[in-house]
Subunit: 334 residues, 4 copies
């Protein structure tokens, strides 16, 4: 049983709390949030301690591990702090929007054996993971093309978009990690195209794009295509396709329910797709707790960690530059 404290009790923090309390090998021992009322509510429901400060958490001998679900700007600091306090770390992505800050954090925690897991939750989706597993098992032979479709159900509020760091750092970051997960070979070239079709004025103001296509290539010629949109009216579109010399593996979308209606002029399913990540990746969020708990118990690094967070950010940088300079960008330029 791993004793866990959760930092941050916003939407995603509470979701982790629910998953931890229901997990057979994890035990919630306390929570912390700068929003005292929110934290109190959670502590009361679960009969657990409400820590008074971050320092109290890190000082507590009851706490084996922390879940960092606070705002992005605090992640790198909290990782450094937790390493110093010898607590295992689960941190929501991204580590930071700045590649420089990620690199300085990397320097600071260099050499640690503390397990650090990054919340690239999609790796733990049963379907996407089965794509990866089928590749490892040789079921599709050599990978030739990977196609990742990833569209949000709706564009975030203006205020969010304005500080998001741009579509590549904020949204595609998950797909860059998925590309690395599925391809199994280092990407060497990135070429990106962007359009402003969902909210043109906002995108122009932010010098950002809401509709992008990214084509990537590895040294051996494997190709990967990511297509993103900030708004898919039919729901959260999440598909991963790997095509290879011996077959193809596709992780398809999840319908809201499996009821199908056959009427005079059509058949339908209502509504179309599962909405957003907490529903769509609900099971994956559970699975990642198991992965984390097992890694900590065995004293090893979880399968997705700090380096993966950094590499995804590097791909985001390359994509940004490709659009800016309207050319293919080599990864070794970043």
């Amino acid at each position: 049983m791993l004793n866990i404290a959760v930092l941050g009790t916003g939407r995603i923090g509470r979701m982790h709390v629910d998953n931890i309390v229901a997990h057979p090998k994890a035990k919630l021992v306390g929570i912390f949030d700068i929003n005292i009322a929110a934290a109190q509510e959670v502590a009361s429901k679960h009969h657990v301690k409400q820590f008074q400060s971050i320092n109290d958490v890190f000082a507590s001998s009851e706490v084996d591990a922390v879940f960092i679900a606070t705002s992005t700007a605090t992640h790198a600091d909290l990782i450094e702090h937790a390493v110093a306090a010898n607590k295992a770390i689960f941190c929501e992505k991204p580590i930071d929007l700045s590649l420089d800050r990620v690199k300085s954090c990397e320097q600071k925690i260099k050499g640690t054996n503390i397990p650090i897991m990054l919340g690239f939750v999609r790796r733990f989706d049963k379907g996407h993971r089965a794509v990866r597993k089928s590749i490892e098992a040789g079921a599709i032979g050599d990978v030739h093309q990977v196609i990742i479709t990833s569209r949000d159900p709706d564009i975030a509020p203006d205020a969010y978009i304005e500080v998001s760091g741009g579509i590549f750092r904020d949204m595609t970051i998950h797909d860059f990690d998925m590309a690395r997960f599925v391809l199994g070979e280092n990407i060497t070239e990135v070429s990106a195209t962007g359009s402003r079709l969902v909210n043109t004025p906002l995108m122009e103001r932010c010098n950002d794009y809401d509709t992008v296509t990214i084509v990537m290539k590895t040294a051996s010629g494997k190709q990967c295509i990511i297509n993103n949109s900030r708004r898919a009216i039919y729901g959260y579109d999440q598909r991963v396709e790997a095509f290879g010399s011996k077959g193809m593996a596709i992780s398809e979308n999840h319908p809201m329910n499996n009821m199908r209606l056959y009427s005079e002029n059509f058949t339908d399913q209502k509504p179309a797709l599962m909405n957003f990540f907490i529903d769509r990746y609900g099971e994956a969020f559970n699975n990642e707790i198991s992965i984390f708990v097992d890694a900590v118990e065995q004293g090893k690094q979880p399968e997705v960690g700090f380096e993966d967070g950094k590499q995804a950010l590097i791909l985001a940088e390359a994509a940004s530059r490709s659009i800016l300079e309207n050319r293919v960008v080599r990864l070794d330029e970043i």
Copy 2:
């Protein structure tokens, strides 16, 4: 926030515990099991009280509602006890294997306003429920035929089967309730056919059947077919189809994951279907807690209760008699 005590910490009791602690409007306040070690483990993980006796539970002012997840033979007693103690009741199905005992319990609790919900969990499956909703919305017009396919992934151990009360009371009971839920009209006739194809010696010894087809009819001529098997090697097969004058609604099976592999000679999904009820109806088990909590908070009876438990048992009796006498049995004979 509804304060709940869970009675019974076996497989299904623990599942309810996990769902209650993760539920935003429910709070686990204590648990009881005659297996003290099992109960202790649950109490410790969730920082809650381990009641020393059933009487303690019913006497506790902290407890608003009880979840009865103990063995079948205790259900009717505990329902009577809980009504006397003025606790809201969620009870796993069946109320009892004996229709007489159900009727005597009914007499005893007659007139109570205490909310009593019976765990016919399938009503809360999104897909099956969408079938019912589409009927209520008029989307398929008048119902003409309902087809319920319900097959377990594997036959239970001999010891279980021997005391199960027979396939109709043990397994089809869920489907009888589903038939009533979807048809929306009282069943008047039952005709059943049984075969011994999965485990012939066991079935002969128990005078039971492992493969059955039940055809039912309402006064207006609506037809309902249930087909059951004790063993579907490919997984837990759970489908509900409603066919009517204006269309058809089908709640399809749930694959294990949405990954599809396309190989030289075939496409496949591995493994086939979700296994057994805790996985397949995982979301429905969560939904039923919401239904229960909302009913209790609003002081009304939940949508599925004692009477539904009794009616399903009556259909089971009719089916048994139909096989025994090789004829169509009218419900008014029971």
Copy 3:
């Protein structure tokens, strides 16, 4: 190359003409129809002979085989005639509505080696056939339950229904043959239930049913369920499911096209299902020509023939009696 004359150039006759002219191993040499204008049109388009009488067809040395696509009442006569003329026979189902007439025809042609194929076209549907093939290959082990769903897109005109011989002889006849094809064991018991839900006055007038469920059983306990409706508003519903000790094979419906639309509130396909038999079984109608041509070339009986036509009619008789007498009918009673 097999030289074929087609008798009857109504809807189904013309379809056979089109399939024959496009078939690599068949050659259309002439046609006959009592409707001279209809026949002339076909003859002219295909540059073939328009026979002046049935006798001319049977007397022609150019003709190796005949396709009987005339009205039902003429089938048995034409079969007898063709056998006498030594022409291979493809005959549309049914042989006759009367079991007595079928038996007298049987007596008359007894001992012939002339290939006689009956147009139970569904056996040649790739999907349904794959169900049978998977059983033969042992892929689903011993068959336990077969479920045949067969619903017409709309009820035929009153005039047609009135002389149809009733739903079992007219419509279910195909499903009875499918049951025999898939079960692979003789049926011993039939139990049928009927309702009048689609067109109540017409059904009452004809003493017929538009919505029926038939449950059949073999000596070893295999079960088969057929459910029929005269009107499925969403199209021609044709499904075959075989469930066995090692798996399940399902031949699913065919959508009109494979385009799927994902909108804000639903996904859909428009229209729902392929309409009626000429579209739905278009490929099967082609396949049956290959089966017929191959059998004739090899001088052997096609896989579905006179006896199959007779057996399907016997099942129809049993189902009629079951409804009439509200009881299970044994086949050996017929």
Copy 4:
């Protein structure tokens, strides 16, 4: 009834013959092929004239229209010849491998009213066409991204590849036309990436690619991605997806049959997908005859003609140049 002569009785020519003879509004009047034996076989089966020369065909007053299904190198000459002879033209794609020859042909036939249809058969696939129709009906709003997946079941023989004109002119040409069909706006930019993963030595020798990704953009920012492979071991992969402001339309692959097997460890369909174009687009090949016949009867140009053939070739040129120069190519450069 349109009187048609078919030029070329190779695989695709014979297929057109079969479709024409079975078509209610077309009549085959004769055929021609330089392979006299092949032509004779077809003429005999269908009781039609075997023309002795191309000139005889064009001189025949019986012939209203010609189907050009001869080798690519003869297409432009035959188009010019047919225009001069005043025969309606259906011509298999491509017009020619050389854009210059296409332009000179264009000059020669300028001003003609003769209906000329080009065999971009995929436009007449029910699924792909339904994508286009749903866009025209406004069902997906403004188009944002189009994704065309097009993979052959196997690479053609070396001898074919060597003279094919390269993957863009030979294979992607269909997808370029589909892109234009679905986007509904002129493409302004093309960017292509190629790999040699299926048959590396052959591709190096031919300076060709077997695995390509093409990204295209219109003036308003609509994006289109084509991904091709010369070998998809699971069959002929043909999908078209259009994503827009109000929804998404996907034309999915066609399985070989609709039988699904559920076994202990997997579900499957065997084999995976329909093989190659004659099967997969069988219905579309029929539909294009209807489109052609209707256009000729109404004396108007069919919906896909000479200009479409030329535009697809221009896109192929742009893609070739993009790979060669590793940059985005504007269409106005070609």
